[in-house]
Amino acid sequence: MPTMTYLQAISSALRDELRADERVLVMGEDIGVFGGAFKVTDGFVDEFGSDRVMDTPLAESAIIGCAIGAAVVGLRPVCEMQFSDFISCGFDQLVNVAGKMHYRQGLAVPLVVRLPSGGGFSGGPFHSQNPEAWFMHAPGIKVVAPSTAADAKGLLHAAIHDPNPVCFMEHKHLYRRVKGEVPAGIYETPFTARVVQEGTDLVVIAYGAMVDVAVEAASGLDDASIEVLDLRSLVPLDEDAILASVARCSKVVIVDEANATCAAGAQVAALIAEKGFEDLDGPVVRVATPDVPIPFSPPLEQAVLPNVERVREACRELLAY
């Protein structure tokens, strides 16, 4: 099994799909000759041509809107937002046109929007956001967020094969930092949660870049048995897996890199309050970014983003409850 970085796994999924299915095309700003701001599509234009690796005008609403049109007449567009932050300019097309299409008129929109997201590198307020919860709140859109190279490839294959609009949250901080074995060829990772490590005393529920933070935090708590659950998919949310972890561990810490209010973790907490209350042996604890724009300067950014120490401290306190 080859070893790839998270970024290489995403590239590999796109390349495999472009080779296997002539309906697939990738479109976005500077993705052709330049190969994309993060080089995910580096070299693609030479193999697949500029029709299928399409440099678009600098217009996010147009990227999403045209992709919707292409999707409903049989193509399988994969759009790249240069940074997930810019999806705000394409929000209307995604939420109002794509998300509501099937419910209203039975017309599927097989569309993937890749959203390079997350902070930790002084990107500032407009290049560091985690906008996944905006789309969890909009009916008709699936949202996935891989934390490993293997899941990045498998979830992207599954997203491209899915007949619905899918937001693929790829965390920029993982691009070159995370490496792992990746199965060869095309395979689908299901839109379900994954138990990263089993435990009995406390479960840390996380997704995306926060999964590694959770694992590292747990490694410093040798006297406790910590489970880590990687959600992988936010819509659909794997309620069974979440409630099973709660039943096993009775104590829960939920970690979001996103701003705390109405975040994915808030939805998980609400689910546990509604359906897992009897299994709890302590309050549901959340670690998330406070409700501020992501600041630029390193000490400010580090002060708001969840980190290993904050998660570990939250676990310690809850274990002692």
Partner: protein, 357 residues
């Protein structure tokens, strides 16, 4: 790139047989009659929500849709009911749609003219009207990439020209020379806002700014609209890119049923009443000896039957209200519409796809 005004019916008659010209009138009569019936149902409390119509604008949708082939794809707006009729949506389903019945095109999930019959190659509008310009542009992009002889057409209003999606669609379509037809339905008011508060230039001139042809047409002349759309389609299929058709017309009713249109000078309405699109087409056909009264009677009977059928149709079952948010199984493709124009019967321009799977 110059814009030009198509003379009423110039060039149209040579492409329209008598049966076509009758069909244009028939589509407009059906649109007006169905909307009048829906308005009555609204006043009786049988149409929930609000009610919008295209009274006085029937030629804009009838003429343009008539020039579209089965394999073409349409995004139809809320004052364009004649396009749905031409495409093949039955009057009973249209009235069922207005009344929120299970038999309506969206099965009660969306209201009034917010629909697109998937099986007839139409993508339903959203209320952010110029959004559909991008969807049409994207469909055209796919046609061009696959080398298919097809085009996409969408309507939008004078208010839409102020939104960013108008610009983004016109720009993209111009850059890639896409086979798309943009019909700007200039009905003088966006809700209550008149043209001089909407743009500082003649909107048809904007086509040149994006690198393609803009055509200003008498939007109350169905045959002129047909000719403009036919030429635009021809340009699209020849690889000559998009066309902006500005259809100059007048919204004769309020924005919706609640709107008394106090902001519109009475003289303006009276002036446009003399230019009614149905009167124009009727007088042409009467001059040719067509029995228009018989056609009117036929259309009224069709609407009566449709209303009776729609009133009998069941309301949707709330048990299914959360179903179909996602496509769970095999996606149903866009199908092909009905082509009414006799020109499609004899030319290779027409064709069917069997669906956009």
């Amino acid at each position: 790139m110059a814009t030009h005004m198509v003379e009423p019916a110039a060039g149209a008659v040579e492409h329209l047989k008598l049966e076509d010209r009758i069909w244009l009138l028939r589509a407009m009569l059906l649109m007006r009659g169905l909307e009048e019936r829906a308005m009555t149902l609204y006043r009786q409390g049988k149409v929930p929500g609000s009610f919008y119509d295209g009274f006085g604008q029937e030629a804009v949708s009838a003429g343009a849709a008539f020039a579209m082939a089965p394999q073409d794809r349409l995004c139809i707006l809320h004052r364009d009911l004649a396009a749905h009729i031409i495409r093949g949506v039955t009057p009973a389903r249209i009235l069922g749609q207005y009344m929120g019945r299970a038999t309506g095109i969206t099965r009660g999930r969306d209201g009034n003219v917010h629909f697109g019959a998937r099986e007839l190659g139409c993508v339903g509008m959203v209320s952010m009207l110029p959004d559909m310009m991008l969807v049409a542009t994207g469909m055209a992009m796919a046609f061009k990439l696959r080398g298919e002889p097809r085009c996409a057409l969408t309507w939008f209003g004078d208010g839409s020209t102020s939104r960013g999606d108008f610009h983004e669609a016109m720009n993209w379509a111009g850059v890639q020379k896409l086979p798309v037809v943009f019909v700007l339905e200039n009905n003088q008011y966006a809700y209550s806002t008149p043209l001089d508060k909407q743009f500082a230039v003649d909107p048809v001139e904007r086509a040149a700014a994006y690198g393609f042809v803009g055509v200003k047409v008498d939007g109350n002349d169905a045959e002129a609209m047909f000719e403009a759309a036919r030429s635009a389609r021809q340009r699209a299929l020849a690889g000559d890119g998009p066309t902006l058709i500005e259809a100059v017309t007048m919204r004769m009713h309020g924005h919706a049923a609640h709107d008394d249109m106090k902001y519109v000078p009475k003289e303006q309405v009276e002036e446009w009443r003399k230019r009614d699109p149905i009167d124009l087409q009727e007088s042409r056909l009467r001059d040719l000896g067509v029995d228009v009264d018989a056609l009117r009677a036929e259309v009224t009977a069709e609407i009566d039957a449709a209303a009776a059928e729609a009133l009998e149709a069941p309301m949707p079952d709330p048990a299914n209200v959360t179903a179909d948010v996602f496509c769970e199984g095999v996606a149903e493709p866009l199908g092909d519409g009905v082509a009414r124009w006799s020109g499609f019967l004899s030319t290779a321009a027409s064709g069917t796809t069997g669906g956009d799977a």
